[in-house]
């Protein structure tokens, strides 16, 4: 059975302020979805809510991931279950190297399955990390640097994809991974995601403002979010339409309904 992420009528508040107002979305393993929408429409709120950030409070609705109630799970359980969020703004953790962090992330998975697991051996981990870093064109020196500390915007995004490639999630949410990336970096990052999609049948939710990344990660479905709801869904042509016409026609079409 394939893994699916099913979001049903999800309402989320931040500081008692409703942001998501009934989101419905179904992403199956192996599918690529794009979520687009203007600033402030709730795209990142959806991403953080799915990842389990404590500041985002679901007030109604349900999220089913791989048959389980996602909203009942802690952030770490969600990750171990196979959900991954590539953050728009990855946090720096000074004093913790990228290598140490990734090794702990792998070992936490292994130990959750088998409490007696001794963890990945250092040579095995080195091999794995080296391979993934080469794939994403990341300087091996990064392994010894403090996590995201002093990384440039592009380096942070690449480090996110490195984590994704190492942890091999079933469904990944990429929150504005394209912002701050030049075209070469964008291509490398997209190739990394595509490879996971092809080899592991990873499902992807690409959150973006711009059509550009969708030239590299080709979506099966495109959704448009406005004021905390998905108002329009379609195929890849919807993204092209947005690129051409902007968001005003969406606002005109659905903003009026909001007033009524």
């Amino acid at each position: 059975m394939t893994v699916a992420l099913e979001i049903k009528n999800l309402h989320v508040s931040v500081n008692d302020q409703p942001i998501l107002k009934g989101v419905n979305l179904l992403i199956r393993e192996g599918e690529i979805h794009a979520l687009m929408g203007p600033n402030g429409s709730g795209k990142s709120t959806l991403a953080y809510t799915l990842a389990g950030h404590p500041a985002y409070e679901p007030t109604a609705g349900q999220v089913i991931f791989d048959g389980k109630d996602l909203l009942e799970m802690e952030a770490d359980e969600r990750s171990r279950a196979g959900l991954f969020l590539a953050f728009q703004y990855p946090v720096a953790v000074p004093g913790v190297t990228l290598a140490k962090f990734l090794r702990q992330a792998i070992n936490s998975r292994r130990q959750a399955e088998n409490p007696d697991d001794k963890g990945i051996s250092i040579p095995e981990f080195r091999r794995l990390l080296k391979e993934k870093m080469a794939m994403l064109n990341i300087d091996p020196k990064f392994a010894g640097r403090y996590l995201n500390d002093g990384f440039s915007g592009g380096e942070k995004k690449r480090a996110e994809i490195l984590q994704m490639a190492t942890l091999e999630p079933k469904i990944a949410i990429m929150d504005e991974t394209d912002s701050g990336l030049d075209i070469d970096a964008l291509r490398i990052v997209a190739e990394g995601a595509n490879r996971l999609h092809e080899t592991n049948n990873m499902g992807v939710l690409v959150i973006t403002h711009y059509q550009r990344i969708l030239n590299y990660i080709k979506p099966d479905y495109v959704h448009i979010m406005l004021d905390g709801r998905i108002v329009e869904s379609g195929g890849p042509e919807l993204a092209l339409q947005l690129e051409e016409k902007g968001y005003d026609w969406i606002r005109a079409k659905y903003g009026a309904a909001e007033e009524a």
């Binding site: 389990g52 950030h53 702990q104």
Partner: protein
């Protein structure tokens, strides 16, 4: 129960069967003690540390002789921390020797490493010359005077001129009766080198305990000392320490301090950079929990030109604990080309803890580069969430963030075993 008195000084000196000069020294220290008022929060150095609840005479001095051989000392104390096997190991219980060894290689080099009382008897001239004469003095404060009068136990390390000690030295001082007055005296003659780990610990007791210690580190010209003082007393112990190092021409001091235990600690730690080329690095770690109170007063005195001092103290706090760090860099007039750095960083793990961080500079010269930094921050929940979002359970994520906080200070500690010891205590205290 015996309190502190002149009679008690005499009794202690008799129990220890000391030479007359030491008895005289103690009596003079007692006179200073009697003349010195008990510090109160009206004294600047004690403003943040209230000791009104300390009933000194109810604790009293450690006067009696006893047999230390039957006392259980935890196995970790004195166990090898250095990569090379220690050439000298000394384990004391309340100032009485329980275990002692010194390698032939060190003996042949003329290295003296023994308990302080043996030193007073067998190396009288050396002790007389250096014991509370130029580093810590009995006039340094009420508790320096009390120590001068009632010191008991501790360790003496002497490395002769141009001798590089063949192996590290290690002492572990365990307190079974809750009151210790240990004295550490280290003398490195010109061009000498040594690595010395000095541990202090006790179990958890109910009755109030006392540690009134002095540490003196004399690092002569061209000498190089690595000294790690690791304190881990029970939370019933009041600790009052005076610690001072003197660093000579082109000499180096690597001074590591770890403070994990006690109910209350007030420690004065001073480095005197006496001659050009003197270099000192002070690295301190503390972790307070429950109702612990740690107050560290550090001073870097640049008494000569071309001297370098670099201090970094990092602390984590939990529960209703409190820390105070008060640092001072002093540069004497006429001292030029000074490099002085001090930083104190604190990590609050609970809202109920409190850290005060007060850097200070007193510079009376022009060509100096002195900088200071101090921060008090909370555990960053965004960092914890980020780690959790990759499948790391909360408990481990918090451990990693705390470990990350201490990483820069750990990187300064030159002995891996010491780093591991400190870090494992941090994890234990983190819970």
């Amino acid at each position: 129960m015996t309190g502190f008195s002149k009679e008690a000084v005499e009794k202690l000196s008799a129990v220890l069967n000391e030479p007359a000069w030491m008895r005289e020294f103690r009596l003079q220290a007692w006179e200073v003690y009697e003349k010195t008022p008990m510090p109160t929060t009206k004294d600047e150095a004690w403003r943040r540390t209230d000791i009104r609840r300390l009933k000194l005479d109810e604790i009293g001095p450690a006067l009696n002789g006893f047999d230390a051989s039957g006392v259980d000392v935890p196995a970790y104390l004195g166990e090898q921390l250095t990569a090379d096997k220690a050439g000298g190991v000394l384990v004391e219980v309340d100032g009485v020797v329980q275990h002692y060894e010194l390698s032939d290689a060190l003996k042949e080099q003329g290295v003296i490493f023994c308990d302080m009382h043996t030193a007073v008897r067998e190396h009288e001239e050396l002790v007389k010359k250096h014991f509370m004469t130029e580093a810590v003095k009995v006039t340094d404060g009420k508790f320096a005077a009390l120590h001068g009068a009632f010191w008991r136990g501790g360790v003496f390390l002497y490395v002769p001129k141009n001798v590089k000690a063949a192996a590290p030295l290690h002492s572990a001082l365990w307190s079974a009766h809750g009151k210790t007055f240990t004295h550490t005296l280290v003398v490195l003659e010109e061009g000498a080198e040594a690595i010395f780990i000095d541990e202090y610990a006790s179990g958890q007791g109910d009755a109030p305990g006392l540690h009134n210690g002095v540490i003196e580190l004399l690092v002569r010209d061209n000498a190089s000392l690595t000294y790690a003082g690791l304190q881990d007393f029970g939370q019933n112990v009041w600790q009052f320490n005076h610690e001072r190092a003197r660093v000579g021409r082109d000499a180096r001091l690597e001074w590591v301090t770890s403070m994990m235990g006690t109910r209350l600690t007030k420690a004065f730690q001073t480095v005197e950079l006496d001659k050009p080329g003197a270099w000192a690095r002070m690295s301190g770690v503390f972790f307070t929990t429950d109702r612990q109170h740690v107050d560290l007063d550090t001073q870097q005195n640049h008494n000569a030109s071309d001297t370098v001092s670099d201090l970094l103290y990092k602390g984590a706090l939990k529960g209703k604990s409190r820390s105070v760090w008060q640092g001072m860099i002093k540069v004497l007039p006429g001292s030029q080309r000074i490099d002085g750095f001090q930083a104190n960083r604190n990590l609050m793990l609970d809202r109920t803890s409190r850290a005060d961080s007060i850097p200070g500079l007193e510079i009376e010269a022009d060509d100096v580069r002195c900088t200071h930094a101090s921060t008090v921050g909370k555990l960053d929940e965004e960092e914890v969430f980020y780690l959790m979002s990759r499948g790391i359970p909360r408990h481990t994520a918090v451990q990693m963030v705390v470990q990350g906080f201490f990483d820069p200070i750990m990187a300064r500690i030159p002995i891996e075993g010491v780093r591991e010891r400190i870090f494992s205590r941090i994890l234990e205290k983190l819970g």
